[in-house]
Symmetry: C2
Subunit: 229 residues, 2 copies
Amino acid sequence: MAESDPQPPSKGERTKERIVAAALELFRAHGYEATTMRMVAEAAGVSLGNAYYYFENKDLLLAAFYREVHEAHVAEARPLLGKQRTLHGRLLAVLQSKLVVIEPYHRFSALMFRSAADPESPLNPFHPAGADIAREGEALFADALAGSSTKVPKDLAAELPSLLWTYSMGIVLYWIHDRSPGHQKTHALVERSVELVASSIKLASNPLLRPFRRKVIELVRDLRLPSPG
Amino acid sequence: MAESDPQPPSKGERTKERIVAAALELFRAHGYEATTMRMVAEAAGVSLGNAYYYFENKDLLLAAFYREVHEAHVAEARPLLGKQRTLHGRLLAVLQSKLVVIEPYHRFSALMFRSAADPESPLNPFHPAGADIAREGEALFADALAGSSTKVPKDLAAELPSLLWTYSMGIVLYWIHDRSPGHQKTHALVERSVELVASSIKLASNPLLRPFRRKVIELVRDLRLPSPG
DNA sequence: GACAGTTCTTGAACATGTTCAAGTTCTGTC
DNA sequence: GACAGAACTTGAACATGTTCAAGAACTGTC
């Protein structure tokens, strides 16, 4: 992702960067909905039409914002993972850091989720533009899993990252609707559900539950929807 | 819902009804997005502004459509429930009838879901306009549960309807993104996941799993988000 | 049946996302 | 350095959801 590109940025790339920068600043200041494409164009010092030359539609600017938030999450979560060895602690680290990072963007996240749920939108996880972020999110959970002291059966380990990522999206959806002060309900949900998830994963190794586990895993494996690439 | 109102419909009510009827017809013919408020107004024989007098925004017409689809689902599911006694069969009846009913409205459902996920939208389950339908959906699952031959522990039975409704929304979300021919993947998901859900519910009665079950139930009970009313 | 107030209706105006035909600037080739 | 084609830029125009001030029709009261 961040390897130093050999080429200096072309003119077009610099313009595009100016537009993103202007957009993100305006989004932060006024929110996504109150920010018009005309405002973005003016702040970036380009014409309205030119903004559309680089971003086919406003949603793609939302995607750029989402990417930034996502990267902030990864940056926040990685160091925390260094300090945790238990599965429980590591999942908690990933989810709690997510809540911390998105905290300032409650309304924004709702819009994000809205778009992500729409198969026509470039932000959904099955669209090329949105798929990267989804995969990186899964990778974070893969890390959380791999570095933990808990041994997870191989077949399950293969499916868990995407299951955990889906679970985390569920948490976000809950948070979006959570109006409790400080979103304390979501924090409670994270604490308590992570415990249940961690114990479920441990339970899954229990030979008594093996047939059940196999069924779940096969279902997930067979029915994963294709993503681009 | 359908008790014969003592009052004959007032002029305003009839106008409103005309607008809904026109809207639903146009939605079915051209889809929601391609139907403009001007088209609706014209088809209903009222002015544009008048359409807005009765429906604050276009989303509320979407909600009216959603209600109709929901009622078709209930009408489809109830008779099927009469023929099934096992929990598995009854859940299957509710979910499969849902898929049958929404089949013609794939794009429409995506838009529906989009709006439902947005806390600002009148269609979300925590908003008065959307809460009714959500509650009726839960009621359907409550029926499926109550009439089944499977004995469910009381504490779990109290929480299951809303859990199952949430589960069904997950299925719908999957279906929205399912591009397989005939949505066969979603059908497979329903068949196989219902089996897992039904066995989980039975497993939940197992004394060995009691502590786990209690934790799940308490979590759900404590952290249910408040709905209006 | 005149009056007051409420309900209903209208069409023009507005804001904003998006498109597009036309122009300008850049890049590589001879 | 002239030329051709690609990349970039522009601002006007468009479609559509939404608002609003003004007026028409209705309802109940005296």
